[in-house]
Symmetry: C2
Subunit: 624 residues, 2 copies
């Protein structure tokens, strides 16, 4: 039976039951065929999805890019058999692809959903992320797109233990995201046993209500109750809605219902076959749910030519401040640019944007995971989020950044207060691992400008760069090194000092460029020529320029970075040189070793051995 219902009246309860059964059957078939997957986690939510997709999800399946579409995010990404069964029931994937492709090499139907599929906004599978991402999409809907689409996020109960869920609900409440609906599949069982709260939906309800959500609790297998709840959810009262659906894990297959022993296990063929038969057998019905409203798109404001700030060589300016000025300029020119920060905008430079373009700024307060989740969601809607906080605190959000790469999100991240350079605040505020973290992110771009001019140029480059890009900024002010008409490339570097007789190459980035210049001056006074390279593009690194310089200085190389020795500038340089083959290399890798304390910038840079003195000494030791 094929229905072509285009409004909610036309799919009746009997048809809903059929659809739910089909979703169950397909969840079983796909995972059993694959020999892996999470059927019981899918079975518990089948009734919810049957009602949602057929009566409430306003989605044009043939036009996934339609801006008026609702959004469906499976925060419980391991229930991928179910979401793919939904795609099949929507007529978008074939029976063959679902059953023969699921979890197979080369298939777009991966173990957890990713945006290789056009109907998937964000990759999920690391729990507690789908709802934060959904907050980002909802922010776009309510404040930027100003379109009435709804964001439906299907969550598990086990993932409610993740703090990021509560960051999401808190922000959803603060921002009055009544276009956001979380549907929680409360099946009481996690991976290794019962969840903390089991079926105590009232306990969950109190939490969600306390965090500002409107809560509706239902029997998650009562189709009428589900429908009524989703209908209520579509009547906004200013608050985000959370539907707590009491469900049974494995529902529909009595042998595994409510059992703690079946998480993440495909049903063996015999059990699967019997279950499918008992569910009414294989079906390949296609259901059409409601369509989104027709929108007359407002003419999108066009980007205009950006007027970047410029600085005079010699002028002292902190790169974090240049970031703020550049961000504001880029934001004025491009209406897609959005900024977010986590309670430190008056330190990161983003405060300029907050003042200049408040309607495109979203304060996240002290919630770095939600900071990235919001940006990921905004990116789904084609916005260009620039996020900032102290670089050290970005480590709070590493899992979100990691998943952002899998989500193919375009995130521009600025981490300020890099290294021991920050001084008196001490190690808790010092980023000494961030270059390693951001270099290891798939497809990332990692930039670390030494002065205000290069900062501005690189921010403009980031605005035009897809994927995840990272800019590391410095607390203190340092002299502008470059004229405002200098160009900077992703993958480039600048040779600041160079002579045919140079005996050593000094490589730095950010604050250590200034140290290297001073060291070169000192060495020059002693008749020693030193090449100085500003490796502002840490990834991709300008291996060619480095290789030529090091070859000319007979393999003598000093690398200085305000970062731990692992995974940062030093190892980036070594990896770059290694691509050419290394014939001769004597390298001194100066980095921060040990736990710093408080002090002035100069004292700490000296303590770490990465100041001009340390660099000059290391150079002379190499020269012998």
């Amino acid at each position: 039976m094929t229905t072509s219902a285009t409004n909610t009246d036309q799919i009746n309860t009997e048809q809903l039951r059929e659809l739910a059964a089909q979703l169950r059957v397909d969840s079983i078939r796909s995972s059993t065929s694959a020999g892996s997957g999470h059927p019981t986690s899918s079975l518990s939510a089948a009734d919810l999805l049957a009602v949602l997709m057929s009566r409430h999800l306003r989605y044009d399946w043939d036009e996934p890019e339609n801006p008026a579409n609702d959004h469906l995010i499976f925060s419980k990404g391991h229930a991928s058999p179910l979401i793919y069964s939904v795609f099949k029931a929507a007529g978008q994937i074939t029976e063959e692809e679902l059953v023969e492709g699921y979890r197979r090499f080369g298939s777009r139907l991966q173990g957890h959903p990713t945006p290789v599929l056009p109907w998937v906004d964000v990759a999920t599978g690391s729990l507690g992320q789908g709802l934060p991402d959904g907050v980002g999409v909802a922010l776009a809907g309510k404040y930027l797109d100003k379109l009435p689409y709804r964001v439906w996020v299907v969550c598990g109960d086990s993932e409610l233990a993740e703090g990021s869920i509560w960051e999401a609900v808190d922000k959803a409440s603060y921002y009055d995201l009544d276009n956001l609906v979380a549907i929680v599949d409360v099946n009481r069982l996690g991976q290794r046993g019962a969840t903390e709260l089991g079926w105590d939906v009232d306990a969950y309800a109190r939490r969600f209500e306390a965090f500002g959500a409107r809560v509706i609790t239902i029997d998650g297998h009562d189709l009428d109750a589900i429908d009524a709840a989703l209908t209520d959810a579509e009547n906004p009262d200013g608050r985000p809605t959370v539907i707590l659906a009491r469900t049974v894990k494995g529902k529909g297959v009595p042998q595994v219902e409510d059992s703690p022993d079946w998480h993440g296990k495909p049903l063996p063929s015999d059990i699967a076959d019997a279950a499918i038969e008992s569910l009414g057998g294989v079906r390949n019905d296609v259901v059409t749910g409601p369509r989104p409203g027709v929108t007359t798109p407002s003419p999108a404001p066009l980007a205009t030519t950006v007027e970047l700030p410029s600085y005079e060589p010699g002028q002292e300016m902190a790169t974090r401040k240049a970031y703020g000025a550049a961000l504001t300029a880029v934001g004025r020119a491009d209406p897609k640019v959005v900024a977010l920060d986590a309670e430190v905008s008056n330190s990161t430079g983003t405060g300029d944007f907050v003042k200049a373009i408040p309607e495109r700024y979203f304060e996240m307060f002290i919630s770095e995971a939600q900071l990235i989740g919001s940006a990921t969601g905004l990116s789904v809607r084609g916005y260009k989020p620039f996020v900032s906080t102290f670089a050290a605190f970005l480590t709070r959000a590493f899992d979100f950044i990691r998943m952002g790469a899998i989500s193919q999100a375009d995130l521009r991240i600025a981490g300020s207060h890099a290294g021991v350079e920050i001084g008196a605040d001490g190690p808790s505020q010092m980023a000494l691992e961030d270059l390693a973290m951001m270099r290891a992110v798939e497809g990332s771009t990692v930039l670390y400008p030494s002065d205000a001019t290069s900062t501005v140029a690189l921010v403009a480059r980031m605005a035009a760069t897809d994927g995840i890009s990272y800019l590391r900024t410095t607390r203190g002010g340092y002299p502008v090194l470059y004229d405002s008409d200098e160009t900077f490339q992703i993958g480039g570097s600048k040779v600041l000092r160079s002579g045919e007789q140079d005996q050593v190459t000094l490589v730095g980035a950010g604050v250590t460029v200034h140290q290297a210049i001073a060291a070169a001056d000192r060495l020059a006074e002693q008749g020693i020529g030193a090449t100085v390279i500003d490796a502002y593009s840490v990834k991709p690194i300008d291996a060619g320029t480095l290789e030529r310089a090091v070859r000319r200085t007979n393999g003598r190389l000093v690398i200085a970075e305000d970062h731990h020795p692992q995974g940062g500038l030093g190892e980036a340089v070594l990896s770059g040189l290694a691509t050419f083959g290394i014939r001769d290399l004597d390298v001194a890798h100066l980095a921060v070793r040990g736990i710093p304390g408080s002090g002035t910038s100069a004292e700490l840079l000296g303590w770490a051995g990465i100041d001009a003195d340390g660099i000059a000494k290391a150079a002379k030791r190499l020269i012998g």
Copy 2:
């Protein structure tokens, strides 16, 4: 005036007022003298600390290691002027050290407190961590030490936006930690402006109550109310207690009271001097608060000789399973060993420990930040926590691991399901950045065993290693390579194949060791000798063995890792070689580039080019 009160009756309200004024005066003096710091954040909590330290904190200041001591954690670590003023009022630091040392280079009074000070349990300053750490200490107190000490955590209101706070309250409630008291300084102002909820203490109360805490709300400047609340907090009702204290930021200095413009700003000298005078001037009183009860320590059960599991060469065994067996053996032998996991113990191997020694296992559910926070707190009490989850999900807790290093915590972390090897679950579950993350942690040890025997040996090594150590385990089973009497050193490696005529060196770790062995066999069939090295100690790496092998194979080196190219095994090897100077190196660095999908282990290892085929091809290309 010096009091030597040893019970709560002896310090009266007038003396409390004096003490509070002294704490205010000293908070101002220290930060003004340093020219940096957060006086207004300190001023708001001065009354709270005055009452706490003099009437409720049962602490033997001369014996910080007394196991009966209460614990005081400043989750709002930026209020360091206040905590150091408390130490002065307790007679532990001098006026000179406070005023002349605060935030200065070399001083133990750093910008944010760290355990360089004997009365500081954990480093704070990255917000939202002190309470999770406190949960760990409270777990120790209630379930392991079985001592009645109390854990007092002073929080800010702004940091309640961090999801990790709610992970902490949730676990505190789940574990009935009625020995844990959070005192929240609700001064309504964050760094750049008002917090989300301002002074709406009722809103906070509803949240904490919903999460299972007992809530007491007070005027945070009413000394009697504070005292009554702390007295109530000492009467447990089975729940953790949260005291919500409505306060005024900058209280005591009218010019800056409740102003959003003074966060993180020291008072200029003129304002400071006037304020100090108005507060009654400089005082150097010493107050003695209540002492802990006398405990007759139960004789600590002694560690016994560990009986490690052993495996037969050739037997197929997953290293994650060997981890579980080894952990259990180590746990049986050492009563200080404790295990924690985040809802995946039946996957990580820790499930063995759960069954064998349930009284020393703490389930954290899906809360990786709290997983590390709990371990950090347990480490404070001298326990040896081993924590586990999927390696990919450890990225959720990077900021906690980073702070754990600054806290000088001893954490043993096992991350399972490394790399593309996991197969069908796909990229969200694959750890491809974890070696970079863990290598970049200060002082860490990073281990990646290839077989069950080495896993067991390295787990035993970890048990004896301080600081933060990390073990990366693999999902699939692979042949045991080593006899059970082989020894493995941190900083060591194993040369598995070696011949004088070898033309290339192959380096792997974990799963790629098996691939490298197969590649070497294939090359041998073609008359090409290949040295094979198992670099199971990624940090510190066995640079000496690597250097000798590479020199002998004329600089030809293939490194294969199931990890992104940045920051992992490959760069560890390059850094290691660089310490010797490099004369000749042609390296093929095989790693995971691009975003993987689903598939079998073999298909994905092949796709990544890190299987035997890829290694052999790369070797031949080098040989030319």
